[in-house]
């Protein structure tokens, strides 16, 4: 239910969405398909999801879990976990105080966010409730990411400004 609503809203917000099985192989295939020919992929290891789920992906030689500053500003894609998602708006919630998750989700032209289906909540306001997701939304530093960065300041609507130009969301099935 929430997966379907989330997917429709995220696509409306000009993100792309893929729902995959919860296995290292399926996740790795989905991420690599999304990043295409990127020669360097920034990666922030997860806080909630088991790191083992990312093991196959992290083994790819293009992946940098400890990028240098220079690599940080010169990579085509950044992959992080999202600890929650919002069905009504198609948003993913990224923790910006956990290690490099915030910066990896921000600097590269393509953002890939991996979120577990059971952490999709109905509305943005649910992140401000103590009884939802153990009240994580009340404790963490995070950002609701809804589509790629955009501006209308230069006249027409342009996608891809200071933040990512594209957002790809991978939802891990229940």
């Amino acid at each position: 239910m929430l997966i379907a609503e989330f997917t429709v809203a995220a696509i409306q917000a000009v993100a792309t969405v893929q729902v995959v099985d919860r296995s290292p192989a399926a996740l790795c295939a989905a991420i690599l398909q999304a990043v295409g020919a990127a020669s360097r992929i920034l990666y922030a290891p997860p806080q909630e999801l088991p790191a083992s789920l990312f093991s196959e992906f992290a083994a790819d030689p293009r992946v940098r879990a400890n990028a240098t500053p220079d690599e940080m500003v010169n990579s085509a894609a950044g992959v992080t976990e999202a600890f929650a998602a919002v069905a009504s708006t198609g948003s993913v919630c990224i923790d910006v105080s956990f290690e490099r998750t915030g910066i990896v989700s921000l600097m590269a032209p393509l953002q890939v966010a991996v979120v577990a289906a059971e952490t999709i909540v109905p509305q943005p306001r649910d992140l401000f409730r103590a009884d939802v997701l153990d009240g994580r939304g009340l404790k963490r530093d995070f950002v609701f990411v809804t589509g790629p960065s955009a501006t209308a300041d230069m006249g027409p609507l342009v996608r891809g400004v200071h933040g990512p130009h594209k957002l790809h969301i991978i939802v891990l099935r229940y």
Binding site: S97, S149, M154, H162
Partner: protein, 760 residues
């Protein structure tokens, strides 16, 4: 009154006319914006406006959210001193620094000192309108610190050296073409910058270097939670995230009114703020942080990472004074979403460089400029016509017209008194405290006196007011623009026609007295359109409603719109005495003129004593076709059997424009439903206001603006008529009639007249 000298709009930078305490600056700014900025402002504000209507309609509990938001803000402002103490403790507990600046200069000095202590040379700034209020960039640049504005709109303004023209899209007065020209000139480049993408890439490349090299980042904050020191920041470009994430030093700057009790309160505002602003369910990025962030800061290539440091700088700068002010404290509830600007017909036409001051703009902007500066800085709030569209769109339900009417009243008092003004005021019935108001305001406020005199000798009055000499005098003495055609005074008033009807012994009671309605003889219909008034009564009688006419009496609308609140109060109290016996009997009161209906429904809360207002609030005031529809539904009456559109000499094709205040009273859709159910083919306007707005469009200094606003409406008529030919023009407000008549040059009728025309 001084006449503004014509200006060449291309010669003035908006900064030159930002301060409008001198009226000439306001008039110059209107000319400049109409000639240079209007197309971009219209396109951008109207896009926000359409998107907001669509996005808020998707919230099933929109009204409950607004009630909750209002309650949170009321409580927060009431408890502000305690919340500020709590917030300070929270920020310190998080490991941040807290500074409460009394004045703009205090805030500038504190921020400058922090930056100098860190030997910061380059600062990146996210969007912060509050920093414009305190002129932070000047203060920092004077100390040798380079400030890079990173929001693309603020970047444009920094390049152009202009003030913001809109609270969330500060450069929305710039078309793509004008940005291209600006960048080519200022950056002396031959790069092709002919699309939004090319311009964005150009600015992004420049700013990416600044983000990487920056020593510090300065952001604003949309909301701040006292319980946890959490900030909420709403954006779409990603520049605010970079500002807060990359440099080791983060300074957040905001007004003290941004504080709410708890982070749980963000849950209400996150649903309302983006939808009310850009009309998006959420903008690309909404950050929720309690800095300093635990993640390491970004070290530029070749540099070592530094530990993070966070400062929250809150500014008072007049806000505590606003909090004590019985009227202006309501402005502190503002969450700066821009809905009041985007749904304002005048703002849509000129934007914040005319309808705005040095920092703040739009309907709410006058209160902010007066509150953080001086009263006369709010002069531009004259462009608020009181149409009330914003009241329905504000997520915290601020009564913005009431704020502006009070500013106007305070500005009237600042005017020097004169013998002529007091004599004119005494003659026309201004309350004694309002007799300092300019002649023009007293003239329009006391319309009923002039109209009453004219009604005694209408033929003579019409002959006299057609004389060029008289129009010249009216223009120079009271500022009534001579280009406006004055509708002629009819030979008899509504009251006289009603009396004549009785003298004729024509049937007075309805066919079956199943309902009982008192029709209020508002002064506009009584003196200006008595036949329309009679038509309204006839329409109601046709469905079996027993209807009587009240005596005519001024309702205070004209006076309140001129800021003559004491006069309005006096008129309202007298009228209340007249209506109370009817209210106590539970009679429905029908009001033909929507601006008067709005007085009874809402404005009287401010004008009547609490006990009387309570009776008004409980009473049933209705637009005539609202009453018609509700009674027809109640009795199962088939309106199409009574009013057959096919029999109307006006034809069945109509273009209907409802009145701004009629829509704010939720009393417009009923007319459309009635006309359609009678078989009319109805195309409706979608403009917020016709631009006439009572006396506004008659005033010499606002005539051009009024006609420019009307152009949207006229264009919609032309589009509707492209297919299938002409349509009968139908409108519900007196002002809308005059404006459509002026713009289209043909007859405009009221829905009740259209219905009567079907009766043969």
């Amino acid at each position: 009154m001084s006449v503004a000298t014509p200006v060449n709009p291309a010669d003035i930078n908006p900064r030159q006319v930002a301060n409008k305490s001198d009226k000439k600056a306001l008039l110059d700014a209107i000319r400049m914006t109409l000639s240079v900025q209007s197309p971009a402002v219209r396109r951008n504000t109207q896009t926000f406006n359409r998107n907001r209507y669509a996005a808020t309609a998707l919230l099933p509990d929109y009204n409950e959210l607004k009630d909750r938001a209002r309650q949170i803000k009321e409580d927060a402002i009431a408890n502000l001193p305690r919340l500020l103490e709590q917030l300070e403790a929270s920020v310190r507990a998080n490991g941040g620094h807290f500074y409460l600046a009394k004045t703009a200069a205090d805030a500038d000095q504190y921020i400058r000192d922090v930056l100098l202590r860190h030997e910061a040379k380059l600062v990146v700034k996210g969007k912060s309108i509050t920093s414009e209020e305190i002129k932070l960039n000047h203060a920092l640049e004077a100390a040798g610190i380079t400030v890079a504005e990173t929001d693309l709109a603020e970047f444009i303004l920094q390049v152009a050296d202009e003030q913001p023209s809109h609270i969330i899209a500060p450069a929305l007065h710039y078309s793509r073409e004008r940005i291209t020209a600006l960048f080519k000139r200022k950056f002396n480049t031959d790069l092709p910058l002919d699309t939004g993408e090319e311009l964005t890439v150009f600015a992004r490349e420049k700013l990416r270097q600044q983000f990487i090299a920056a020593d510090a980042g300065i952001s604003g904050a949309n909301l701040i939670a006292a319980d946890s020191g959490s900030l909420m920041l709403v954006e779409s470009e990603g520049n605010i995230r970079m500002t807060m994430t990359l440099p080791p030093l983060h300074i957040a700057l905001a007004g003290i009114e941004k504080v709410v009790p708890s982070r749980t309160d963000f849950g209400t505002f996150i649903e309302l703020l983006p939808r009310s602003g850009t009309g998006q369910p959420l903008t690309s990025y909404v950050s929720i942080l309690h800095p300093p962030l635990k993640a390491p800061s970004f070290a530029a290539p070749g540099k070592a990472a530094k530990p993070r440091e966070f400062h929250l700088v809150l500014i008072d700068n007049g806000r505590s004074r606003m909090r004590e002010d019985p009227i202006l404290h309501e402005a502190l509830y503002c969450i700066r979403c821009s809905a009041c600007m985007n749904c304002c017909a005048n703002f849509e036409t000129v934007g914040g460089h005319a309808f705005g001051g040095e920092t703040y703009s739009g309907g709410i902007g006058g209160s902010w400029e007066a509150g953080t500066g001086t009263l006369m800085n709010a002069r531009f709030s004259e462009l608020c016509t009181g149409c009330s569209r914003c009241v329905t769109q504000c997520p915290v339900r601020i009564d913005i017209p009431w704020l502006n009417e009070n500013l106007r009243q305070r500005m009237n008092v600042e005017q020097p008194s004169s013998a002529a003004k007091s004599a004119f005021g005494a003659m026309t019935g201004s309350a004694s405290e309002d007799r300092v108001a300019p002649l023009q305001k007293q003239f329009f406020a006391n319309y009923h006196v002039m109209a009453g005199e004219a009604a005694r000798f209408p033929a003579m009055a019409n002959a006299v007011t057609r004389l060029p000499l008289v129009r010249g005098l009216m223009e120079s003495v009271v500022g009534l623009d001579r280009r406006r055609k004055l509708p002629p005074f009819p030979p008899k008033t509504w009251e006289q026609l009603y009396r004549d009807e009785h003298a004729d012994n024509r049937p007075r009671a309805a066919k079956s007295a199943s309902a009982d309605v008192l029709m209020f003889a508002d002064v506009f219909t009584n003196y200006g359109s008595p036949e329309r008034g009679m038509a309204a009564m006839r329409v109601l009688r046709e469905v079996g409603i027993n209807v009587e006419l009240s005596p005519s009496s001024p309702d205070g609308r004209a006076a309140i719109s001129q800021g003559m609140i004491a006069t309005a109060r006096r008129q309202a109290s007298a009228l209340a005495q007249l209506l109370l016996p009817h209210l106590e009997k539970g009679r429905v009161i029908c009001v033909l003129e929507p601006s008067v209906l709005a007085m009874f429904r809402s404005d009287y809360e401010h004008l009547l004593d609490a006990g009387t207002w309570e009776k008004f609030a409980r009473a049933s005031f209705m637009e005539p076709l609202q009453a018609l529809l509700s009674i027809a539904k109640e009795h199962g009456t088939d309106l199409s059997q009574i009013f057959r559109a096919s029999k109307s000499p006006h034809g069945t094709r109509v273009f209907y424009h409802s009145h701004c205040q009629q829509r704010s009273c939720d009393a417009a859709w009923q007319t459309i439903e009635v006309l359609r159910s009678c078989g009319f083919d109805v195309v409706t306007s979608s403009v917020e206001c016709c631009g006439m707005a009572g006396s506004f469009g008659y005033k010499r200094e606002y005539y051009e603006l009024s006609m420019a606003v009307g152009e949207d409406l006229f264009a919609q008529v032309r589009v509707a008529e492209q297919e299938g030919g002409p349509r009968t023009l139908v409108a519900s407000g007196t002002s809308c009639h005059e404006q459509l008549w002026a713009g289209m040059g043909r007859e405009v009728i009221h829905p009740v007249e259209l219905l009567v025309s079907t009766l043969g």
